[in-house]
């Protein structure tokens, strides 16, 4: 079927401001929007620039704003979209070129929440035990692929670039909820400041945007509760 791809473009060496360009693309029944972008790049305009790699929703490279929503181009089928498909770079991050944004501010937030298991107890000779019930508590958060669909669609983040944002908070919750972790208070301190969990207004844009169906807001709510319980002050 024929689609019109309307793409917001910006060439840093040529353009003073972004501009729109339309391409006509033919896509088969099983094809992904990403297939269409690749076809334009390979056969029509090689300068069209976007990130991509795994093409099936596991690497998180091709997150972009498509018809008003942050999502993965490889996980959106042509069949499910109207004739006109509008592509823009992810909101809230500086644009580098066409659909490519600067991801550094995003990864910086991830790195800031002690995103690793903390446990200095003597190591057992075998695995640390963890019951299936304990493991289930992290089952949702470990599915995150760091695509930034959530953070880029968060209105709080749009207004406060120091806000840790949903993805970093999910990462923190992943360890807070892990029965093997002893990072406790130190990590909760990191997420309890003026730009931490308490900044979340439960708008649920993140939940709607997440291509992995992670209940992001629930994880942030858990952090809010735990910081309160420990007497750590939230925002302000």
């Amino acid at each position: 079927m024929d689609k019109t791809f309307r793409i917001k473009r910006f060439a840093p060496e040529k353009d003073n401001a972004s501009r729109w360009e339309d391409f006509s693309v033919e896509l088969g029944p099983h094809e992904r929007l990403l297939d269409g972008l690749v076809r334009i790049k390979e056969f029509t305009d090689g300068s069209l620039t976007f990130r991509r790699s795994c093409a099936h929703g596991m690497c998180g490279s091709c997150a972009m704003k498509i018809n008003g929503r942050s999502r993965l181009a490889c996980q959106t089928l042509a069949d499910d979209m109207p004739e006109l498909v509008i592509f823009e770079p992810l909101p809230a991050f500086p644009v580098i070129k066409d659909l490519v944004v600067d991801m550094e501010p995003f990864f910086e937030k991830i790195r800031s929440v002690m995103p690793y298991l903390v446990n200095d107890e003597p190591l057992p000779g075998r695995e640390r035990p963890q019951s299936p019930e304990e493991m289930e508590k992290i089952l949702d958060s470990i599915r995150c692929i760091l695509c930034a669909c959530c953070t880029s669609s968060c209105p709080v983040y749009w207004g406060d670039k120091q806000y840790l944002g949903p993805a970093a908070l999910v990462k923190a919750a992943r360890f807070v909820l892990d029965s093997r972790d002893r990072g406790g208070k130190a990590r909760l301190d990191l997420v309890s400041g003026a730009h931490g969990a308490a900044r979340c207004h439960s708008i649920y844009n993140c939940v709607e945007a997440c291509p992995r169906d992670i209940d992001v807001t629930r994880h942030i709510a858990i952090l809010k509760r735990q910081t309160l319980k420990r007497g750590l002050r939230g925002a302000r």
């Binding site: 060439a11 840093p12 060496e13 040529k14 099983h30 992904r32 690749v38 790049k41 390979e42 056969f43 305009d45 090689g46 300068s47 620039t49 976007f50 990130r51 991509r52 790699s53 795994c54 093409a55 099936h56 929703g57 596991m58 690497c59 998180g60 490279s61 996980q75 089928l77 580098i96 070129k97 490519v100 991801m103 990864f107 790195r111 995103p115 690793y116 298991l117 190591l123 000779g125 075998r126 695995e127 640390r128 035990p129 963890q130 019951s131 299936p132 304990e134 493991m135 992290i138 089952l139 470990i142 599915r143 995150c144 692929i145 760091l146 360890f175 892990d178 093997r180 972790d181």
Partner: protein, 573 residues
């Protein structure tokens, strides 16, 4: 810009991250990769990582070694397989200690499931050896190792594309890379360089591999006249989603799924009477193609069904959730209600950069190494996988041999190395500018498409002399055309079209190495199946192939297989 580190790691998948963590204990480390670290293709690994933990039923290291050797159709180097399987247990335990969220048994141990070719009692019956985190084991381990790197002094340089490795007088001095964002050419000087760039499945039309899996560093070494080992052995995974090639884990069959042909019959019992659908991948892929060729595809078409309807819904939801999602999104199929249409998909390169068990890159079949150069993971050929890799042995390979390479690399005496020779960056600049200014008018996309279709048609699951000869000739014309690739994008910043062109040229070179290696091996072994030579021929071919190209001529030499305990036998399952 010139950077200087004790150890340089190229690639940020599981092998690269494992190497980096290990090397960071002994010095400074840089990781450069063309993607952001967690975007690597290791994240797409689904089913598990093999280790004879014996958590669910009795298991032994020896059985694991035997299965790995037999799975590799006796081309596996048995000393290396021994290292792999012995290190497996402590490796998996260490991953757990680092935080990997493994699925658990009711007793709280790491859960284990069945996987193709993994057996107990030397082939008697399938064994539960695959440690898993649902069907996203790769993602779980990648995230954990990336998280660990945040604690270590590991410097990441994401979105840097390596243009050249600098090797002078038998010593690697580092690499020259393009910083994608600025277009700047940078030098990375290092005492030791570790190549960990993964596979090159994109040489084929239908593949489970990421678009970034283009084997760039193998291409660079091959064009320098250095050898590649066992390039004829490329594994096709039996179950790729129809048309897309997206992987459906063997774990689906480990949990009880079966393959069904167009007559509604299961068929694997004809090909592997003992372990049926859990036979090694090369055999299952051949079985599927045979069913299709004999007219028993679904509706006479080029695919069969993977039927999971006999697997309890709860099992599907807890142990195969990603497969459920992929099937729904891409095929519109709910596997608990309808079978999934599947066909073989190019999946894993057994061949690659020849290394020893410490990751040292070899330049001769007799074991001479390049000083300061290491390789690990899918890009390397140790060879632990021989002619056909078993499922779950690849994640294991990346972590075991990535670590070993990291350890050896960081122990180099001359840590900083002699520095980059003048001219190294200039050469890379010239390569880039000649590509940018080429007015030949050929599109890289057109070259890639022609190559991928050719490789799929003539050099995939079944091969023969006539087809391979035709392919070799055609690749020569494709190569000549590739000299005329033009680029629309003349900008310096984030020029991904330039990278596409470079990757395409590497793919053409690797296609050539695969086809010529396949042509010269006149036997069938593991994933290399010659219809004109259907039998394994140990008398002539129990040896590894080294291919190299010097002054436009292709040369072969051979390396004996390490056989310690298991004498080659007929391979039956």
């Amino acid at each position: 810009m010139v950077h200087r580190f004790d150890t340089l790691v190229i690639g940020s998948g599981l092998a690269g991250l494992s190497a980096a963590i290990e090397a960071s204990l002994q010095g400074t480390v840089a990781v450069i990769a063309k993607l952001y670290p967690t975007r690597c293709h290791s994240s797409a690994a689904q089913g598990g990582i093999a280790a004879a933990l014996g958590n669910e039923e009795p298991d032994s290291i020896e059985w694991h070694v035997y299965d790995t050797v037999k799975g590799g159709d006796y081309l596996t180097d048995q000393d290396a397989a021994g290292t792999l399987c012995e290190d497996a247990i402590k490796t998996v335990i260490r991953l757990e200690h680092l935080g990997v969220p493994f699925s658990r048994t009711p007793q709280g141990k790491i859960a284990q499931r069945r996987f193709g070719g993994h057996t107990r009692d030397f082939g008697a019956a399938p064994a539960r050896r695959a440690c898993y985190s649902a069907d996203r084991t790769g993602l779980a381990i990648v995230n954990t190792l990336y998280e660990q790197c945040a604690k270590q002094p590991v410097a990441f340089f994401p979105e840097y594309h390596v243009l050249d490795l600098v090797i002078e007088d038998g010593r690697c001095l580092g690499a020259v890379a393009l910083e994608l964002r600025t277009g700047e050419i940078c030098a990375f000087e290092a005492g030791a360089t570790i190549i960990a760039t993964g596979g090159y499945g994109r040489v084929f039309k239908t593949t489970s591999n990421a678009m970034a899996s283009t084997g760039d560093l193998l291409g660079i070494l091959y064009s320098k006249g250095m050898p590649l080992e066992d390039m004829e052995f490329f594994q096709f995974h039996p179950t790729g989603l129809l048309g897309l090639g997206i992987l459906v884990t063997e774990g689906a069959r480990g949990e009880g799924g079966v393959l069904v042909n167009g007559n509604g019959e299961t068929f694997m019992e004809k090909y592997a009477p003992r372990i049926k659908d859990l036979a090694p991948r090369d055999m299952v892929s051949r079985a599927i193609i045979t069913e299709i060729k004999e007219g028993r595809g679904i509706g006479g078409n080029d695919y069969v069904y993977l039927d999971l309807r006999n697997v309890p819904r709860k099992t599907l939801e807890t142990r195969l959730p990603e497969i459920m999602t992929f099937s729904r999104i891409y095929m519109g199929v709910d596997p608990s209600e309808k079978p999934i249409p599947v066909a073989p998909t190019a999946h894993y390169a057994m061949g690659g950069i020849p290394t020893d068990r410490d990751g040292r890159v070899l330049i001769t079949e007799s074991g001479a190494a390049v000083e300061g150069l290491f390789a690990a993971g899918e890009c390397a050929c140790v060879s632990v996988h021989g002619a056909n890799r078993l499922g779950c042995n690849s994640l294991l390979d990346t972590v075991v041999f990535g670590r070993r390479a990291g350890m050896k690399a960081a122990a180099q005496k001359d840590k900083s190395g002699p520095g980059m020779p003048p001219g190294a960056m200039e050469r890379a600049r010239e390569t880039v500018s000649s590509l940018l200014n080429n007015k030949g008018g050929v599109r890289a996309g057109a070259i890639k498409k022609e190559l991928q279709e050719l490789m799929m048609d003539k050099c995939s699951v079944f091969r023969d002399d006539a087809g391979l000869r035709a392919a070799a000739e055609k690749i020569e014309t494709i190569r000549q055309k590739a000299g005329n690739i033009s680029i629309d994008d003349k900008g310096e910043k984030f020029n991904t079209e330039l990278l596409d062109a470079i990757e395409t040229i590497h793919l053409v070179n690797l296609g050539e190495a695969i086809v010529h290696s396949a042509l010269q091996r006149t036997e069938s072994r593991g994933a290399h199946c010659r219809q004109d030579y259907p039998e394994r021929d140990d008398g002539n071919w129990l040896k590894h192939t080294f291919i190299r190209k010097k002054d436009g001529e292709i040369h072969f030499s051979f390396k004996p297989v390490s056989i310690t305990k298991f004498k080659p036998e007929k391979r039956q399952y």
